[in-house]
């Protein structure tokens, strides 16, 4: 079992795509809760940086969506209270809470997605399908930071040369405009060098261009892909034939507990918790290895000491 980021980007992409659609479309409280817990755990181990601050934002979103539903939807048979002649129903509140959890799960999922799907992984996926687009994307990713840096450099230099003579808005705008024009010239002039460098290395010769990537498709990738496709297919089928259906209106009716539903829940939990478990397993393995090597070296030292004595 290897952590998520070690899989082939295409597998990763399919995994995220299927999981995200399951989280969004399976309107089932059990699955929502599984997804919520699983996505939290995944976010902690994969995208833990700044997660604390993000939770404040998530909490606001959660409260808003949970409140919005009962305010706007008055379906349901269990009336809790009446505000301005509008009934607030238990069903609508619960549905709102579930939507809140769903949205939070999706947000957390995207957080992990954006941390793992770095530019070169996306490039691998799209470069395969559209080689020209792939190269264009790669060059863009190269030149955006380059241009940004150059702009800052020009701005600094021009500042020392007295570009912004008076600190008023017109001078500032004039200054920014001349920097923009200088940037354009710089970009065009130096773009020629880039173009030369490309043609010097055979770009545009009449041979079909290949697209290279450092990622391989290994057996574990194939296994992972099959597992994800099969289990998601099974669950989607369950949703399609109403085996996992939950009705909220007019009253909450959970689907009857069937073998199909139970298997679906287990499969869902497996794929949703996989990233978290895989990461923990890797950490444990490393810890153990490290400890062993420490023990070994300590033992070796001890033996050496004994021998020398």
């Amino acid at each position: 079992m290897k952590p998520l980021e070690k899989y082939n980007p295409a597998v990763l992409f399919i995994y995220f795509l299927l999981l995200a659609s399951l989280v969004m479309f399976a309107a089932n409280p059990v699955m929502t809760m599984i997804a919520f817990v699983a996505m939290n755990s995944a976010a902690v181990v994969y995208a833990g940086n700044g997660l604390g601050r993000a939770y404040i934002f998530y909490a606001v979103i959660f409260v808003l969506t949970s409140l919005a539903n009962p305010v706007f939807s008055h379906n349901g048979v269990t009336v809790l209270l009446v505000v301005n002649d509008n009934p607030i129903t238990l069903e609508a509140v619960l549905y709102g809470v579930m939507t809140g959890f769903t949205i939070l799960s999706v947000l957390l999922l995207f957080r992990v997605f954006s941390t793992l799907m770095t530019s070169d992984r996306l490039l691998y996926i799209f470069g395969r399908a559209f080689p020209k687009l792939g190269l264009l994307l790669s060059m863009t990713l190269r030149f955006v930071p380059l241009f940004g840096r150059q702009r800052r450099k020009i701005e600094n230099t021009q500042k020392t040369l007295g570009l912004y003579k008076n600190e008023n808005a017109i001078d500032t705008i004039k200054g920014k405009l001349s920097i923009l024009s200088a940037m354009t010239t710089w970009g065009l002039e130096n773009g020629i060098v880039t173009a030369d460098s490309m043609s010097a290395r055979g770009y545009g010769i009449k041979r079909s261009r290949t697209s290279f990537s450092m990622y391989r498709f290994e057996r574990s990738d194939a296994f992972m892909l099959c597992a994800v496709l099969l289990s998601c297919g099974f669950i989607f089928l369950g949703i399609a034939i109403d085996k996992l259906k939950t009705d909220f209106y007019p009253r909450i009716e959970l689907s009857e507990v069937s073998a199909y539903a139970l298997i679906s829940y287990v499969l869902y939990a497996l794929i949703a918790f996989f990233p978290f478990v895989a990461k923990l397993a890797e950490r444990e393995a490393q810890k153990k290895l490290f400890k062993e090597s420490c023990d070994n070296s300590v033992n070796r030292e001890r033996i050496e000491k004994r021998d020398s004595v």
């Binding site: 060059m139 030369d196 010769i205």
Partner: protein, 606 residues
């Protein structure tokens, strides 16, 4: 085996300018050839013509043969793979965002299969020692790493010929010499034929087999390195950019009043090597091996003759220079005074106010070194100077400056402190990442320290409001001079059409337009050839004589040594030593001029 040959190559640009006339040369497989010449001599045009895809537009006549086949006969695939080209500016020739992708780019273009690309890319990364930054984005690399990546991503195409257009002119000296060492290794170990144009020849000449010197598009000399150097040192346009050991040799030879003993014997040889005449070329294709063979008796005669030994092979490297000097000092008719003359003539501060004093002191110094007696006198002299310095107004002062870019990052400057007096030329030297550029940006008020004080003309830098600091007060020439150009025209030409060195000087003029009293220069000699370097030196000396204080941060030791009054060494964000330029460089072992490296300890022997 001959791998590249040109015959009567002429080139005229569409505007009628004749860039090359009758260039004929040849290159053997596995040889390294250095193309030298002043700015605008047509080096770049020649190199570009050799690589078909980069041929400039214009009228070309004459032929280029690659392994005996005309350039036009090569297929696109051959043209792309067999000849590699590396450009001057490291940044702009990188195409993609990741190191591994950049390495694979050329192979993708020629349609190599995935597995083959993987093998080749990994192999080349291993060879060039790039594993540790293989996955990084190209944006995060240092200049030296970028240029190495450019070299590697050309080498991955497995070319036979490698053409480099001033590959190290944007690098600092240490990185540059590493880069040239890598080139030498490629040439010697893999038999790659290399053609490199360069302005700083000190590093390249000792390792190259042949030299092609051109001026105004015409061949000045072509042939085996030593023979060419012998000719070029007589030519003013080339002499300035020769390695220090060659200059020393020339000085000693001319100072001792003797004609170079090889000169006459060599005349016939030179005639053979300097071939501008195409007829001779065709009849007798240049073959160094054969040429040397033919000359063998004459040569051995010279080296074995004791009388002529000190005038033997012209020394190209520092090591050879030391050997030559030792031999010279041992020989009975050597004159120790020549040594001091030679060392004295190197730094000429003619325009300084204290020039006479300097000269007197210099003489004193050489006398002291010759008989080691006047140490006390020297010290007194020094003390006098020091006390005078104390009276001079302090223009720029750093007081325990701490600076960092990121809150949790490391300190770029730590307890950095120095003082610069009025009218002084102060050079800050240091390796890569020592914090030189940071220090000068802080002095220009572009970045602020989190602790410590920076005073400009006695006033805290933070107390200058708005543009006050840059109003006839402080000006800075940045490292990237292209950032200075904001107008499209300078003297009727677009700034980007100027050569690197000309851009540098044009930028300096723009910076000086604000009439600064404190001039800050960040690597002013980057991309400058020797001739323009002299021009820059003159300009700065005149400014200093007019009372402008100049602070320079530079890698360029030779330049700093020739212009600075005082030097400071920055290491790890800290000023570790400050001193009078002469003492500073004499005291240093590694961080010193090629001259000082050749002369080190020489006096003691006699």
């Amino acid at each position: 085996m001959e791998i590249l040959r040109t015959e009567n190559l002429n080139f005229i640009y569409p505007d009628g300018r004749q860039a090359l006339s009758d260039i004929s040369f040849s290159l053997e497989e596995g040889e390294m050839m250095c193309v030298c010449g002043p700015t605008g001599s047509g080096k770049s045009t020649l190199l570009r013509l050799l690589k078909r895809e980069l041929s400039p537009r214009g009228e070309k006549s004459g032929d280029i043969f690659i392994s005996g086949r005309k350039q036009e006969e090569l297929s696109d695939f051959e043209a792309a793979t067999r000849i590699g080209f590396v450009f001057q500016r490291p940044d702009m020739q990188i195409v993609t965002d990741k190191v591994w992708h950049e390495l694979a780019f050329g192979l993708e273009n020629i349609g190599i299969k995935q597995n083959e690309i993987r093998r080749r890319v990994c192999e080349i990364a291993g060879y060039f020692g790039m594993e540790s930054w293989f996955d990084r984005s190209t944006d995060s690399l240092s200049g030296g790493q970028k240029q190495l990546l450019n070299l590697a991503s050309v080498m991955v195409m497995q070319p036979d010929i490698l053409i480099l257009d001033e590959p190290v002119s944007q690098l600092d000296p240490i990185t540059a010499s590493d880069f040239i060492a890598t080139l030498t290794k490629l040439c010697r170990e893999f038999g790659i034929s290399i053609i490199a144009a360069e302005q700083r020849l000190g590093e390249l000449i000792p390792v190259s087999d042949r030299i092609l010197a051109i001026k105004d598009g015409k061949t000045v000399a072509f042939g085996e390195t030593r023979d060419c150097v012998r000719t070029l040192i007589k030519d003013e346009a080339f002499a300035v950019s020769m390695p220090a050991s060659v200059k020393l040799y020339e000085k000693i030879m001319s100072a001792s009043g003797k004609e170079n003993p090889k000169e006459t014997d060599n005349a016939s040889h030179e005639e053979k090597t300097i071939k501008t005449d195409s007829a001779t070329l065709k009849e007798e294709p240049i073959n160094t091996d054969r040429a040397t063979l033919a000359e063998e008796p004459v040569r051995t005669g010279i080296t074995h003759s004791k009388e002529d030994h000190k005038g033997g092979d012209i020394p190209l490297s520092v090591g050879e220079g030391r050997r030559f000097l030792k031999e010279y000092l041992k020989s009975p008719e050597s004159d120790p005074r020549i040594l001091s003359e030679v060392s004295g003539s190197e730094d000429t501060r003619t325009l300084h106010e204290d020039d006479k004093e300097n000269a007197a002191e210099k003489q004193a110094v050489s006398r002291v070194e010759a008989n080691k007696e006047n140490a006390a006198e020297k010290q007194a002299d020094r003390d006098k100077k020091d006390s005078r310095r104390k009276d001079i107004e302090t223009v720029l002062e750093f007081k325990e400056v701490y600076l960092k870019y990121e809150r949790n990052g490391r300190d770029i400057l730590r307890a950095c402190g120095f003082k610069v007096g009025k009218g002084e030329v102060f050079c800050i030297l240091g390796g890569n990442g020592a914090g030189k550029s940071t220090a000068i940006s802080a002095a220009a008020g572009l970045i602020k320290p989190y602790s410590g004080k920076i005073r400009v003309f006695g006033k805290n830098i933070g107390d200058y409001k708005g543009q006050e600091l840059y109003n006839e007060c402080v000006a800075m020439l940045p490292q990237d001079v292209q950032t200075v150009f904001i107008t499209d025209e300078i003297n009727g030409r677009h700034p980007y059409d100027l050569s690197g060195g000309e851009q540098q000087l044009a930028a300096l003029d723009i910076v000086l337009a604000s009439k600064p009293k404190l001039l800050l220069l960040d690597e002013p000699t980057k991309g400058l050839d020797a001739v323009l370097g002299e021009e820059l030196k003159k300009k700065l000396k005149k400014l200093a004589a007019d009372g402008v204080t100049i602070v320079i941060v530079s890698h360029d030791i030779e330049f700093s040594a020739s212009i600075a009054d005082r030097c400071a060494m920055l290491f790890n964000g800290e000023v570790v030593s400050v001193g009078e330029a002469r003492d500073f460089f004499k005291g240093n072992y590694f961080y010193t001029t090629a001259y000082n490296r050749i002369m080190r300890g020489m006096q003691a022997e006699k």
